[in-house]
């Protein structure tokens, strides 16, 4: 090779090297290019504080003088980060209208403890959370991680801001934009909307003249063929219900209750004798001394999440509270740092009745119950003893088989002792008890009744029973009977907790006497949940801790502004309708009262089983509504309007059970969703109406039990909603949607003359604020009217943007009182008003607590024709027709039981938030060390989980932090929507981030009840609650 060739080659190689360098060094070069301006990155605002936010105000640490930052405002509103709905204080940048951060509202009991008295000037409230005199340490008012991260919802790239109409088939994820006014027109008038044939519009469905089914007239009018559904009341439900029930007049409305905690709520309702609203209690954490958490996980989740977490934490540190957490999975409630004061005991999923009955048996056997308290048979007796509330422990249940009132309490009328015009069965027809002298007496006349009574009562002239006698048992005997059906060892075997441990827990529980309290919730969403919850609440009853400080507390309730209030009547209006007929969920209606039953009886057939379960005790349940409607039993639904609800993600097995039918417009003509996002459910909608999200809404949210004082949180659009506007310039939202639809259909209760004031004069309902500001006026004027807001209050609470709306809507005298309310984010009873003398709570439950619930005990199972037990008793997970789950899915084939628990950072719709995903991007499933070993699975392995309905892959977190034989799945992951999948809007890509779909959802492992004819997911027998705890599964190591 000659020299020049050689040089040429070397030169070429050098050039190659240089090129490689240029490519490899591009990164630093780019930085250098940027760095010419002084920084290779974005130059932050401050050389030390970087881009930290400018403080919203400053407080001089010496003088306490407070100076507001003129570039920001702070406003009080509500957090939508979860159903706790805490009151928060939000910082907004004035120039950009961006929310900067949120923190707790110090007036609000869900965010601070103790909360500030309402009369505190706002400026002082702001000082109380500052470093001035270190006030903020004790005065802390917080938002949780989710609440903080939720500000991302407002600017989320996954947010829907335009009206959308589907293109192509349902669920194909293709949409086109449509004007709001066209959307209203199309859904009201119907027509060939999708090129698939005629679709009935709301006008056609709004038919109150014809029955939906002439053969079954009890079903009600055709107007019932509209189903309204929503998640829960985020403070705006009043408008939805006004439209649905009272303007349109449909029977069918459902919310997430039936797949949230209905089994608990109904079990609780059974004990509290409230089968209408299912009142429930929570521990009074401020003074509790011993608590048993079973199937609820305070500080991991729970309602109210933050308040429980805060108070539990504080009690751990002060040493005031000892507690035991009985749960299939270990969670944040059981704190290692708190040492022996908190303890976790693993339990087999869906076996809580066994645990509860064992405890009840032990307590009764050892007479470790509040005997004197239980012996008080009436309000008169408790009042005399300075107690809050009484129980029916001593009331006598009619046991005689053939007695027409079998299962009811023996009343004076049953003894033929009714005087005057007292109606049999009314309150005045007093129940009978046996006094200490063994005499049968009306309960009101007895201070202390006999607890255990089992006798035949001879009734002269009685011809209702064969021997003329009525045999009765006191409620407590009935409870003892069911509790003694099995030994503690058998119960122990059933629930997987060693009998010694159960006895130990019972001993500890008993040792605290009336200071022991039990709490439960989501863990009851198993096939035995109703009786589980009833049984567990029974422990509070036996301990006598209801209505007591440190015991089981009802809570203070709320100021309801949307009823008939001191200023306006928001529940009544000219032309108002009341819904009629049978719920499509076949609830609150006895099968025995149907035409179907009658026809079978008339034909001499055995009327049982009904075609599908009827549940007379249950409220309208969304868990049945969709699947039943799609199968047309009792009748089909023609249109669904869903507002921010996501049953297809939230209800175990629903997706598998109904999705194919839902896709077919023949089964359901019209599905309109009002939502801020595209979720797993409204993905199948025909239209999506964009809605306001958190901080952009009007509304009033109530309190949770466990909040001991009365309160209502107010919210108003503290930032301008980002979605499109209507032609009138109002933001498109749930409210404007119902207003426009009602006007299009000419329904009453909306439009110019819709809201009567106290003088009967009518006011308009054309905008959301027409409704909510008047509700605010009602709240402000309830009881002693609120004072007027000062100028300083207005300045410090960022409500200036609200003032023009107040002026536009309310008469002058109402304005500044309403401003006072908004300046503090609601109305709150003072902290000290929670307590009464003698360990009593101020807000108490006054109805008799049920050791035996006659309403339950006289109800029949529509599938088996059997009577329900009126006391808690051992239950086995069963399907609708009564077959045991293990008969269909034996343990040999399905060795594990899956359960789910809530994520402590996520919630069901939080997965789109990057700031939460970065902390918890994924949910590995909990497997016990022994189960893992048995299946050859190691920590971190990929496992295949199979259920009767589906299968999925997940990573295994192997430890002893879960019950043997159980598999725990953290809820809120495994999404397919909310940003996880790509949609096309007008042909353009929208969303589609794989990470939003990370993880696994237990609900995808749910399945249809194999014993049902009318399709339905596996539901708890009494309540119809979704069964998501204790699903039979099997696991195997996935290859690769």
């Amino acid at each position: 090779m000659d020299n020049s060739r050689r040089r040429l080659l070397k030169g070429a190689a050098a050039t190659g090297g240089a090129a490689a360098f240029a490519a490899g060094y591009s990164g630093p070069l780019v930085k250098m290019a940027k760095g010419v301006s002084g920084s290779a990155g974005e130059k932050p605002d401050h050389h030390i504080h970087g881009n930290s936010l400018a403080p919203e105000y400053t407080v001089d640490l010496k003088s306490g003088e407070l100076t507001l930052n003129p570039d920001q405002r702070m406003a009080f509103t509500v957090c939508y980060g979860c159903t706790t709905k805490c009151g928060v204080r939000v910082r907004v940048d004035n120039e950009s209208d961006q929310v900067l951060r949120s923190i707790g509202n110090p007036y609000h009991p869900l965010s601070s403890e103790p909360h500030l008295p309402m009369h505190t000037p706002v400026a002082d409230a702001l000082k109380s959370v500052s470093a001035y005199e270190e006030q903020g340490l004790a005065g802390r008012s917080t938002t949780c991680a989710r609440g903080n991260a939720m500000i991302g919802q407002i600017t989320s790239p996954h947010r829907v801001t335009h009206c959308l109409k589907r293109v192509g088939g349902r669920g194909e994820r293709r949409w086109e934009r449509i004007a709001f006014e066209d959307l209203i027109e199309e859904i009201c008038e119907g027509g060939d909307l999708f090129g698939e044939g005629q679709v009935d519009g709301l006008r056609a469905i709004h038919n109150h003249d014809e029955p939906v089914d002439a053969d079954n007239p009890e079903y009600g009018p055709k107007a019932n063929q509209l189903l309204m559904m929503e998640a829960t009341d985020y403070g705006r439900s009043a408008i939805l219900k006004r439209f649905g029930f009272n303007a349109f007049g449909t029977r069918n409305y459902g919310h997430h209750g039936s797949y949230c905690g209905l089994a608990f709520r109904m079990g609780s309702g059974a004990l509290l004798d409230d089968m209408a609203k299912f009142a429930h209690v929570k521990p009074d954490y401020t003074r509790a001394k011993f608590a048993l958490f079973i199937g609820t996980a305070p500080s991991q989740a729970g309602n109210p999440f933050k308040r429980q977490g805060r108070l539990l934490a504080e009690a751990r540190a002060t040493g005031n509270l000892d507690y035991v957490v009985v749960d299939p999975g270990l969670n944040a409630s059981a704190s290692h740092a708190a040492g022996e004061r908190s303890r976790w005991v693993p339990i087999r999923p869906s076996s809580d009745t066994a645990f509860a009955m064992a405890m009840i048996q032990w307590l009764i056997e050892h007479e470790a119950y509040a005997a004197d308290y239980l012996a008080m048979p009436s309000p008169e007796a408790t009042e005399a003893a300075n107690e809050n509330g009484h129980t029916n422990a001593t009331h006598l249940v009619i046991e005689t088989e053939e007695h027409p009132r079998r299962g009811h309490f023996l009343r004076r009328s049953d003894l033929g002792k009714l005087e005057g015009n007292v109606e049999a069965g009314s309150d005045a027809d007093d129940v009978m008890v046996v006094n200490r002298d063994g005499e049968l007496k009306p309960s009101r006349e007895v201070r202390q009744a006999t607890l255990f009574v089992e006798r035949d009562i001879v009734i002269p002239g009685n011809d209702e029973t064969a021997d003329g006698n009525i045999s009765v048992k006191s409620s407590l005997v009935k409870l003892r009977d069911t509790a003694n059906e099995h030994s503690i060892e058998e119960y122990a075997e059933h629930c997987g907790i060693d009998a010694r441990v159960i006895k130990h827990i019972a001993e500890r529980f008993a040792a605290y006497g009336r200071d022991a309290v039990v709490d439960t919730h989501g863990g009851m969403m198993s096939a035995t949940g109703f009786y589980g919850a009833y049984g567990l609440m029974m422990l509070n009853l036996l301990a006598g801790s209801f209505n007591r400080q440190g015991g089981a507390a009802l809570g203070g309730g709320k100021f309801n502004g949307t009823g008939s209030g001191p200023r306006y009547d928001l529940s009544d209006f000219p032309g108002k309708r009341g819904p009629e007929g049978v719920f499509v969920s076949r609830t609150r209606f006895a099968y025995e009262d149907t035409s179907e039953y009658q026809r079978k009886v008339d034909a001499g057939e055995n009327p049982y089983p009904a075609r599908a379960p009827w549940r007379p005790l249950a409220p309208p349940i969304l868990t049945e509504q969709l699947s039943s409607a799609l199968d047309g039993y009792p009748y089909p639904i023609k249109a669904v309007i869903g507002c921010m609800a996501n049953p297809l993600y939230g209800q175990a097995g629903l997706h598998t059970t109904i999705v194919d039918k839902l896709k077919d417009p023949k089964n359901l003509g019209l599905f309109v969703a009002v939502d801020g996002f595209i979720n797993e459910t409204n993905r199948y909608a025909d239209y999506i109406v964009p809605d306001s999200v958190m901080y952009e809404v009007w509304g009033f949210t109530g309190a949770w039990s466990g909040t001991l004082t009365k309160m209502t949180t107010a919210c108003w659009p503290i930032v301008e909603p980002r979605q499109d506007k209507t032609a009138e310039g109002e933001p498109i939202s749930m409210e404007s949607f119902f207003i426009a639809t009602a006007k299009q259909l000419g329904l009453p209760g909306f439009g110019d003359k819709a809201i009567p004031d106290a003088n009967g004069e009518l006011h308009p309902l054309n905008r959301a604020e027409d409704f909510f500001l008047r509700a605010a006026a009602n709240i402000a004027y309830m009881g002693e009217p609120l004072p007027e807001a000062s100028k300083s209050d207005v300045q410090h609470s960022g409500i200036e943007p609200l003032l023009p709306k107040l002026t536009r809507t309310l008469p002058v005298e109402e304005r500044s009182r309403v401003a006072y309310l908004y300046a503090r984010g609601g109305r709150f009873e003072d902290h000290e008003d929670a307590f009464d003398g003698d360990k009593k709570l101020a807000h108490a439950w006054s109805r008799a607590l049920c050791v035996y619930n006659p309403q339950v005990g006289t109800t029949f199972n529509s599938q088996t024709g059997e009577r329900l037990s009126g006391t808690p008793c051992l239950q086995e997970p069963r399907f609708a027709d009564g077959t045991a789950m293990r008969e269909v899915y034996p343990e040999d084939d399905w060795p594990l039981l899956a359960f789910s628990y809530k994520s402590n950072v996520m919630n069901s719709y939080a997965i789109g938030l990057e700031r939460l995903r970065m902390i918890k991007p994924y949910n590995p499933v909990l497997m016990h060390t022994d189960d893992a070993a048995r299946h050859g699975i190691a920590h971190g392995d990929t496992v295949r989980i199979e259920s009767p309905g589906n299968d999925a892959l997940a990573l295994a977190l192997v430890s002893d932090g879960v019950m043997k034989g159980a598999l725990g799945i953290e809820h809120s992951f495994g999404h397919t929507e909310l940003g996880a999948s790509e949609h096309r809007i007008d042909g353009e890509a929208f969303a589609g981030n794989d990470w939003v779909g990370a993880g696994i959802s237990i609900n995808d492992l749910g399945f249809a009840d194999p014993t049902r004819d009318v399709a339905g997911t596996w539901l708890e027998g009494v309540s119809g609650a979704s069964v998501r705890q204790g699903l039979p599964i099997r696991v195997s190591r996935a290859e690769g």
């Binding site: 030390i48 917080t142 903080n148 976790w344 971190g940």
Partner: protein, 258 residues
């Protein structure tokens, strides 16, 4: 870790936490890698934090509020709370342990002397800060901090860390993580003031307080109450599962990896 070794470390943990309460006399800074003189900040104050782990519920409110307040890039944390399942050796009972971490504003901060341009320094009130305008982004301090309290902020391309929210302290407000602490576990205050809440708590719990990695001689000024001494060190644990997959088994990896 064997028990002897552990208890030794635990002993050390206690001792050093105790030592921190005695004013730390700074070593004459003559040699290489010695602490430079502190500058700026209020010399009458010495900020410290006390975290009562019995009150930490692991809610991560601190993590997220800090992240927002201080505009940290996704996936980087000035503070975060680790969560562990812990088995009690004696009883076999299992419970959850939460451990919030942030910059310890060490009295002998190893991150400071390494900085080649004095961009990071300790103020007289004890707060260790970074001057964004001066930092060259060499990440030396990031490696030097034993607590992973620092990171390179990809937006600013400079070192980033907890400042005890100095901007809020100066405004008479509380740091984001403290004001949003749901469990009420975090407390900040001036340790030079004997009447401050933190001084009183430290006095009261003098023997129980622990700090992280005391043997490193960094003299941390974030004190823990209710600490399990095993966690003052890198824990011996089954590692967290860091893979991310979806139901179909698709591997996604960590979204915010750097």
């Amino acid at each position: 870790m064997d028990p002897i070794r552990r208890s030794l470390l635990g002993q050390l943990a206690r001792l050093s936490a105790g030592a921190a309460m005695v004013p730390w006399s700074s070593v004459a800074s003559a040699g290489i890698n010695d602490q430079p003189a502190r500058r700026e900040g209020d010399p009458t104050k010495r900020y410290g934090m006390l975290i009562d782990l019995r009150q930490c519920i692991g809610c991560q409110a601190c993590t997220v509020s800090c992240h927002i307040e201080n505009d940290a890039p996704l996936g980087n944390f000035r503070t975060i709370v680790s969560q562990f399942e812990v088995e009690e050796e004696n009883t076999g009972e299992v419970a959850t342990f939460m451990l919030p971490r942030l910059c310890n504003h060490c009295d002998n901060p190893p991150c400071v002397p390494v900085c080649p341009v004095q961009a990071t320094y300790q103020r007289q009130d004890g707060i260790v800060v970074v001057d964004n305008d001066r930092c060259v982004g060499c990440a030396y301090c990031v490696n030097a901090c034993p607590y992973d309290a620092r990171f390179i902020n990809e937006k600013t391309q400079t070192a980033d860390k907890c400042t005890f929210c100095a901007h809020r302290l100066e405004a008479g407000l509380l740091p984001a993580c403290v004001e949003s602490c749901v469990g009420g576990a975090r407390m900040i205050g001036n340790m030079r003031d004997p009447d401050s809440e933190i001084s009183r708590m430290m006095e009261k719990h003098r023997d129980e307080l622990m700090v992280l990695q005391p043997e490193k001689g960094t003299v941390p000024q974030v004190f823990y109450l209710g600490m399990d001494e095993r966690f003052t060190q890198r824990p011996e644990a089954e590692p967290g599962i860091w893979d991310v997959i979806n139901e179909a088994g698709k591997e996604l990896g960590y979204e915010f990896g750097h």
